[in-house]
């Protein structure tokens, strides 16, 4: 198009011949370009496919190690089983104690909270009805009396014989 602007006097036939004269140069260039594009595409496709299969291979390997990990966890659980631990302990010459020594100490707040006695007190509180709670709230002296009675019982009075 630019040649038409610069040389407006050229006839149509001349212009066609000029364009055709570019063909031997343009065609090989186009062909090479097409080949290059094709090669690039093939190369990319090949690289993508290879990478894809590598990814697949790595995924398979990851799966393999995950399976192995699971199996090792199972092995750990089996080695920790009570039967196996006991067998090993006996093999090492361990056994039940022949004599026990009982030592008493004060429980920590956390231990006390976990103890059955504390749990029982919690259950007792949860089973108290609303009316009972109101009664307890109003009749504070009863609470005080109960507390004193419990304190006296635990400190000074002999424990009842559990064997009747």
């Amino acid at each position: 198009m630019s040649s038409e602007v610069l040389r407006p006097g050229l006839s149509v036939g001349r212009r066609a011949r000029t364009q055709l004269s570019h063909l031997p140069v343009a065609f090989p260039i186009a062909l090479v370009l097409a080949m290059l594009i094709g090669l690039l595409y093939l190369n990319q496709a090949s690289v993508v496919a290879t990478t894809g299969y590598e990814v697949r291979g790595l995924e398979t390997e990851r799966q393999h190690w995950q399976i192995r990990n699971e199996q090792l966890k199972l092995e750990i659980a089996q080695l920790r089983s009570l039967d196996r631990v006991e067998t090993e302990a006996r093999r090492l010459g361990l056994g039940p104690p022949e004599q026990r020594l009982f030592v008493t100490r004060k429980a920590t707040a956390e231990e006390w909270a976990r103890s059955p006695v504390a749990q029982k007190q919690q259950l007792d509180r949860s089973s108290v009805s609303v009316d009972d709670e109101q009664e307890q709230a109003t009749e504070w002296w009863k609470v005080l009396l109960d507390y004193a009675q419990n304190w006296l019982t635990t400190r000074f009075l002999p424990k009842p014989d559990p064997g009747l």
Partner: protein
């Protein structure tokens, strides 16, 4: 002219044949491309696309300390694309020593000409799978598949339950909690190459599987092991037909151990055999039985709480008790004269129990029995729970004499879980706790924690305290110079024996009994309630000699395990120094 006409005719014939052939081909083409389009399109899609279900991992069942009792683990299984195998005999010879199967068996499998992959060996050990993987064999491939494993072996097998070959729960917790454990399988729809493999980085639709939730139980595996060992020993010693032991925390209702015999091995090859399948049920919740004398605990709790009797209330025991046209007698005939309610429990007197129940009256008696949960399921999260049998005065088949017989555990059926729940209420001061065995469900869909549930206050704390002291005396009273079978040196325990005859269609079998014991301790702050049931012991029929020693053996191990200090340490030390 004639020759020309003949040639034209030949040309026409050739043309007609050609056109005919094309017409046939065209019609065939139309038939294949249009009429059978959907069929061949589906075949092509199937060839080109691979649709595969990706199984979800089944949740783990763990004890209270998160030790796995049942866990799903992946193992490689070996498959073959037999259509593409040229020399099955040679391949069989290579694989047979690794798979440890006869060559002929492998040859047979590899010679099958089928489109679907042929399973050569299921769940290979890791080292064998690695060996095969390194061989890089064509048309042979490994596929990971889940297998249910039980790292603790037979421990709590009936409770945990069985999973079928299809991966669905068949019994126990595996069945009851199947919807939580199973998870949701995923799927993969992907393009595949000529070898049938997924084309890397191709278009694919992947839906990830949702793994199942894990269950954390209230079961303590140490308690469970102690219980199972003692039960096995008792079964062997007494050549019993069956046995069940149940251990509960009385303050929370948490089941600490549950064991039954005969049992099964979840790893055994005959797991799905006709002999093993009937053992799947959990007798502690499924088997209702006539409790016999252990039911006197409930009778006495009702009578004491209602104020009908006190521990010191005495009556004249002259060896029989007539009521509503029937006569009650003791299991062993005796006429001791005046007998208190405490002595009624110590001597396990049927007459005393009948006296207490009839003094209380049917309306109040059955009201208490129902309040203790007898005759109704406890709704524990286990399959096949039986409600037991309790006939009420409103029932058409109830007779007034039933009040007397029910008082000592005849004519009424209970499950071990009902009895343990009821006696827990005596141990904890009168509170009926809902029994439970799953304390936590944790998984991709969220976390649910189950807390102890208080159902009702069935008796007053004072009644529970009085009854506890009466039950302590049952264990600690020395009769005829004999120490009771359930006594543990140094600790105050409470309990009651039971010896129930087995009901038959024509009355009660004289040669078969159910020996039982239920008790708790230490009474100062009970850590456990234990129920022992031994069915049809061969050497001796009595609960005192069959079930009470099992209770003692279990309790003597649990007390130090729970860190329970002895009430009388000197007794323990004296006993140990005598060894």
């Amino acid at each position: 002219m004639h020759e020309l006409h003949k040639q034209k005719w030949r040309l026409y014939a050739l043309f007609a044949i050609t056109v005919g052939c094309f017409a046939v081909l065209a019609s065939r083409l139309v038939y294949i491309q249009i009429v059978q389009h959907d069929h061949f399109y589906a075949l092509a899609q199937e060839e080109h696309w691979r649709s595969e279900e990706i199984p979800a991992r089944r949740g783990t069942i763990m004890d209270s300390a998160s030790n796995p009792l049942a866990i799903s683990v992946s193992f490689d299984s070996l498959y073959a694309n037999t259509l593409q195998i040229d020399d099955p005999d040679k391949l069989a010879e290579v694989l047979a020593p690794i798979l440890e199967v006869p060559v002929s068996e492998l040859e047979q499998k590899l010679s099958l000409k089928q489109a679907a992959p042929v399973l050569l060996k299921e769940h290979l050990p890791a080292e064998k799978a690695d060996e095969i993987r390194k061989m890089r064999l064509w048309d042979i491939y490994l596929r990971p598949e889940y297998r249910r494993e039980h790292p603790q072996g037979k421990l709590a097998a009936q409770l945990v339950g069985v999973v079928g070959r299809d991966g669905n729960g068949l019994s126990g917790l595996e069945l009851k909690w199947d919807s939580d454990l199973a998870g949701k399988p995923g799927s993969l729809l992907a393009e595949r190459d000529t070898g049938g493999e997924e084309i890397a980085l191709s278009a694919a639709e992947y839906v990830a599987p949702v793994d199942g939730s894990n269950l954390v139980l209230t079961i303590d595996r140490t308690v469970q092991m102690i219980v199972e060992r003692e039960l096995d020993a008792a079964m062997q010693q007494h050549q019993a037909a069956a046995g069940t032991v149940l251990v509960m925390d009385p303050y929370t209702g948490a089941i600490l151990a549950v064991a039954s015999r005969p049992g099964f091995d979840p790893e055994a090859k005959d797991l799905f055999s006709a002999e093993t399948v009937p053992l799947y049920s959990i007798p502690a919740v499924a088997d209702a039985f006539e409790p016999g004398s252990i039911f006197k605990i409930i009778t006495m709790a009702a009578a004491l709480d209602a104020g009908a009797v006190t521990p010191e209330t005495a009556f004249m025991n002259n060896g029989s008790f007539s009521y509503a046209g029937g006569v009650v007698r003791n299991a062993v005939w005796r006429a001791p004269g005046m007998e208190t309610m405490t002595q009624t429990l110590q001597r396990s007197s049927n007459i005393g129990a009948a006296f207490a129940a009839t003094t209380l009256g049917p309306e109040r008696f059955y009201s208490y029995v129902q309040a203790f949960g007898i005759g109704a399921p406890t709704d524990i999260e286990l399959p096949g729970e039986s409600p037991g049998i309790l006939r009420l005065p409103s029932s058409p088949d109830w007779h007034p004499f039933d009040l007397a017989t029910n008082s000592f555990g005849q004519g009424v059926s209970v499950t071990p879980i009902q009895m343990v729940t009821a006696v827990s209420a005596v141990a904890n001061g009168g509170l009926l706790m809902k029994p439970y065995v799953v304390k936590e469900v944790d998984g991709p869909t969220g976390r649910r924690v189950y807390h102890p549930t208080l159902m009702a206050q069935v008796i007053r704390p004072e009644t529970a305290a009085k009854l506890t002291q009466m039950l302590v005396s049952v264990i600690e009273t020395v009769e005829d110079g004999q120490v009771r079978g359930a006594r543990v040196a140094g600790y105050h325990l409470a309990g009651k024996t039971g010896t129930a005859e087995v009901p038959t269609e024509s009355g009660y079998a004289s040669d078969r009994t159910i020996a039982s014991f239920i008790g708790f301790g230490p009474v100062e702050s009970p850590r456990f309630v234990i129920m022992v049931t031994i069915r049809e012991p061969k050497d001796t029929p009595w609960g005192e000699t069959v079930a009470a020693p099992v209770f003692r053996n279990i309790a003597s191990q649990l007390l130090p395990y729970f860190g329970a200090a002895p009430s009388v340490p000197e007794e323990v030390q004296a006993m140990e120094s005598r060894r």
